[in-house]
């Protein structure tokens, strides 16, 4: 199985309203709920691609119970969330039907105690030996030490499990130094890490900081990968219109599934770009459109070169 870690799990709620106006009262016409947080989104895409996945992180309170009930209903996804005394956070996306715009309200989430953080690390160590790869995704909840991902990367490397890190800020800076196999920053995260806004230079710099491979996600411009096997750029054939929420998580799922299937780097990047674009095209945020995905697989352009052996 593939293990995904989401320390800041969430219940993602979407409301549709006619038109959102501050200080007014709104009748919500449609409510949808799904388990969220970046690693959960990655796991959902992996499961849809036919990979057995296990989700870990934290769960608490009534919202945590709902997240777990919803996870139990997804085939191919196992729930290994660790219980905490605080309540799992909700995120609310309010979709304005008139403009199509989304307004986001994100709860802060629970504070993790030192005992809960230790219990998580123990659970993680028990799960790792059954994993073919692990993804560490998203922000750290309050109470979790900023070096958390660095520690989780080291544990995975000690166990010999390939590890992908997708986070930002200081958690990314420290995590990279622990030498994860892959990091997947977006342009902003990359610039914050390296100080450079020039994608190729920043990607190379990020790799020098310790990552085995750096795959930078550049939005509609696709992916730029600098690895020990070579460097490549993969771009979707056309600009896809839609909602970019979850496109980065789908790219992570593409990279990770490609890794465990022993695909070449160009093939991993083609899959990641196609999944990412098919997620933008899907009507539900974070889902991917399978028809678009399969059609794009043959149309993603990859340029670049393998390193001299």
């Amino acid at each position: 199985m593939i293990l995904t870690v989401t320390l800041n799990t969430a219940l993602d709620i979407t409301y549709r309203v006619g038109s959102l106006r501050p200080h007014a009262s709104h009748r919500v016409s449609e409510v949808t709920e799904r388990p969220g947080g970046k690693g959960v989104n990655v796991a959902r895409v992996l499961a849809a691609l036919g990979h057995e996945t296990t989700v870990t992180g934290f769960t608490g309170g009534a919202t945590g119970r709902v997240v777990q009930e919803l996870l139990a209903a997804v085939p191919g996804m196992a729930d290994a969330l660790v219980p905490v005394s605080g309540a799992t956070r909700r995120t609310i996306a309010v979709v304005d039907e008139q403009t199509g715009d989304t307004t986001q309200l994100n709860e802060p989430g629970p504070v993790i105690t030192p005992t809960e953080w230790s219990a998580f690390q123990e659970a993680y160590e028990h799960l790792l030996p059954s994993a073919s790869a692990v993804a560490l995704c998203g922000s750290l909840p309050p109470g979790v030490p900023v070096g958390a991902y660095a520690g989780l990367v080291r544990t995975a490397r000690t166990t010999g499990i390939p590890v992908l890190l997708d986070t930002s800020g200081e958690a990314l800076r420290r995590g990279v130094a622990a030498r994860p196999d892959i990091i997947k920053p977006n342009a902003d995260e990359l610039a914050e890490l390296t100080g450079s806004h020039e994608p190729l230079r920043a990607t190379q710099d990020a790799r020098r900081r310790g990552a085995g491979a750096v795959v930078a996600s550049l939005g509609p411009q696709g992916l730029l990968a600098v690895t020990r096997d070579g460097r490549w750029r993969a771009t979707p054939p056309t600009s896809v219109r839609g909602n970019p929420t979850g496109a980065g998580d789908s790219a992570v799922a593409g990279l990770l599934s490609g890794l465990v299937e022993h695909l070449t780097w160009p093939d991993r990047l083609i899959r990641a770009v196609a999944l990412s674009a098919a997620t933008v095209a899907a009507p539900v945020a974070g889902e991917f459109d399978r028809g678009v995905y399969e059609e794009l697989l043959g149309r993603v352009a990859v340029t670049g070169e393998a390193s001299a052996a």
Copy 2:
């Protein structure tokens, strides 16, 4: 005990955000949750006044479970909610810390099946004999027949239990014809019922439609009561600044507690106006400020006259 009926129960969630801007992403700094719906609010005030109360209506899904957990924590309030297959609705009040404005998002709530509606009526008939009074509060959820309150009023009258109806639109129109002891419309509800925007005329007209007493809530102008014992107007001493959410529900609690304590109409109105104003003054929507309440009790002005015996 006093029985309150809330067919459209809710979990009332309040979010504080720095400044609400459509199409932006917001970090919620504070989350508070309380059981809601008009009859639940009435019961909370009654319990705070020292009256044993029982809450009935519907509960369903994960949100219903949270409502019931929160109800269990309130002393003096018993939970007699009837389970349904749909999920209890959430309401979200987003408070803008910069302006103090509130933006409201209300979920639609569950559709009640005919079997669930029958189960509720049976539960209601079992509860009534232990009640000293009953309040029927708020809107009807989808699936409940529009004549629902008329039926519940008749059942209460048959059992000999005084019944107060606080609803609007067609549910109020039909409910009044079943001759409830008291109705408590606000100015808009009264105008919709009678077609008149002149408060005294509309209140008298509403009474002719079947209500034993009509107590019109006129916002900062207080209450206007037309009853078989006489007619009165009760006004707070000064305009109270604050959040009017729940002020009408507090007035209902004042009227109902006054009824079971056999207060005179002027004393019931003084209590209702003082509670209402103390609710506007309270920092938390729907709570009342006990100090303001006790201070106002001596300062509410009542004018009017008893009918000739």
